[in-house]
Amino acid sequence: MAKKSYRQAIAEALRQEMERDARVIVMGEDVAGGMGAPGEDDAWGGPLGVTKGLMPIFGRDRVLDTPITESAFIGAAAGAAATGLRPVAELMFVDFFGVCFDQIFNQAAKFRYMFGGKAVTPLVVRTMYGAGFRAASQHSQCLYPVFTHIPGLKVVLPSSPYEAKGLLIQAIRDDDPVIFFEHKAMYDEEEEVPDEPYAIPFGEANLTREGDDVTIVAFGRMVGFANQVADKLAKDGISCTVVDPRTTSPLDSDTILECVEETGRLVVVDEAHPRCSMASDIAGLAAQHVFGALKAPIQMVTAPHAPVPFSPSLEDLYIPSPDKIEAAVRKTMAS
């Protein structure tokens, strides 16, 4: 086992699955790069280099650069998935879903149910999300709650390199459309990641910390923040459980509710906007099912209901921070 970055873990999952199954293909804008250009081939490997090195191994027939036409190529990936390939399409930034959402939510997401169970659509859409990159309003959104709302889509939010590799392998082997959210601020984060392929099942939450006083449910990049807070507060005698649901659809509500019942206190940390969010969804589940166990009002730590600002001074205030999470935990402990 070696230390690998989030970027390397994702690249390794792609490579190993492409080696295992010739039906797995990768497509997207500049996923190799240099198409038709006079300089180097494989010139980009995606804007942040995640897919670099795949094209020299698998060739342009399995690593396909596309024109800037998300509707056409995301839809083509859905059509190819429904007819025998297992495409992994890259929607560079999730913000660009606006250009191609019909092909995702009216087409791919509907096939299985609408065709009476006869369709299988093993499509993966890899996409970057999240703030912190000074990338402003159209390149920083979270949007996973929007996808989570749609029946027929599976939605994955890997919170570390280990999680990213196992969840992406599962996504590729899964027979339903999966939207795989990669946080752009996490690509250089490192941890031990096994060399061999492994799959992490969907719908099984991971407890990254176990404690008695407060349950913190956090998503994606926020899991790391929640762990930091839990470690810090442990020194002050406040013991936290941190739940990483891993997938927002399917959602492991059983594990979440069990933890809330045990601790009696709930903080939900979600980088998306507060309304119709994962935070409000989890809070609603707790209120519905374990109301009697709650010792204090549920706390939500989210971004505000505003677009992501460009200016670093504002963006830093915008993102849920460890400080805000700590304050929310202390607040629930105080009441």
């Binding site: 804008e29 198409m35 006079p38 024109p67 000074r134 990338a135 460009f310």
Partner: protein
């Protein structure tokens, strides 16, 4: 049609201003002073300036992620732009937009755009406003070669034609979309695409300011006269990477140097107007100094300006939670 001396001076001034601005932003980005994604327009100046010289504030343009040149050509304040790029409180968008979203609607500048293909539909709308309210205005969409392939662009060409809108679609083909060559990504031909929608379409040498200016004059006049939309396919070259930080390994060795040496749009303009005796070398040199100073001052001001305070996080929203 000939350009007046005033127009020639203005054209040179704007091209030099854009070049100085972009070279400065490049240096500042390289020094780590500018956050975020920055896409520079250096090399493409003749296009934005050659088109926008025909426009006034009642005319609208929509730009792309590579928007600084279009902003300057449309009359945006350079000081406000530099502050915006540095994320300052009194930048053109209050520091909330940054390089990719600079806009000034009072100047008819409807924004740089983070979404490739975001502009053309908006331009159909601006053209519809001009047509409905009989303002006499026109609306121009600047679109890259990459952006030319988006569905939104195809739909907008069709809509502009069937509604007979006062619009012009300017395809700025700099040879690449990120690392992908336009010779590969654009199937067929952009002039033929325009014609296929039943509109006049013309190929333009984007290194030649005069050719751009003339083609734009024709298309904009047509739009103003109620004779509908047109397409211009402008061939040009970008001098810097797709975004700042791009190593450009997909380009041929020496490719950019050769363009700079042989067909730089500013150098060509200078040669043309001095050889024809239209402007004096001294006048041009004065403009070069003046624009360099304007940008240098804008930089000093931007660096000294304060960022937006916490209270600004939740302004410009209709509900704050």
């Amino acid at each position: 049609m000939q350009l007046s001396r005033e127009e020639l001076l203005k054209a040179y001034r704007q091209m030099c201003l854009i070049r100085a601005f972009e070279d400065t932003v490049h240096e500042e980005f390289s020094a780590g002073n500018i956050p975020g994604f920055v896409h520079l327009y250096a090399g493409e100046e003749a296009s934005g300036v050659g088109v926008c010289l025909h426009l006034t504030d009642k005319d609208c343009i929509a730009s792309t992620h590579r928007g600084h040149g279009h902003c300057i050509a449309k009359g945006c304040d350079v000081g406000g732009m530099m502050k915006e790029i540095f994320g300052r409180a009194d930048g053109l968008c209050g520091g909330k937009g940054g390089s990719m979203h600079i806009a000034d609607l009072s100047k008819g500048m409807m924004g740089a755009n983070g979404i490739v293909g975001g502009g053309p539909p908006l331009i159909c709308g601006a053209a519809l406003t001009a047509k409905t309210l009989k303002t006499g205005g026109v609306a121009i969409a600047f679109v890259g070669d990459g952006g030319s392939n988006q569905g939104t662009t195809a739909e907008s060409l069709n809509l502009a034609k069937v509604w007979n809108l006062p619009a012009v679609f300017v395809f700025e083909d700099n040879g690449y979309a990120e690392s992908t060559a336009s010779s590969w990504s654009v199937a067929g031909d952009l002039v033929e695409r325009g014609k296929a929608y039943g509109m006049p379409a013309r190929r333009v040498d984007g290194f030649d300011f005069f050719e751009v200016w003339d083609a734009a004059r024709e298309a904009i006049e047509r739009a103003r006269n109620g004779d509908g939309p047109s397409v211009l396919h402008v061939k040009l070259s970008r001098y810097y990477g797709h975004f700042e930080g791009d190593a450009m390994t997909y380009r041929a060795p020496g490719e950019i140097d050769a363009v700079k040496a042989q067909k730089d749009c500013i150098a060509l303009f200078k040669r043309r107007v001095t050889e024809a005796g239209l402007l004096e070398p001294d006048q041009l040199a004065a403009i070069e100094d003046e624009t360099a100073r304007e940008v240098a001052d804008a930089l000093v001001d931007a660096k000294a300006a304060p960022p937006p305070g916490e209270a600004k996080l939740l302004t410009d929203v209709y509900v704050a939670y």
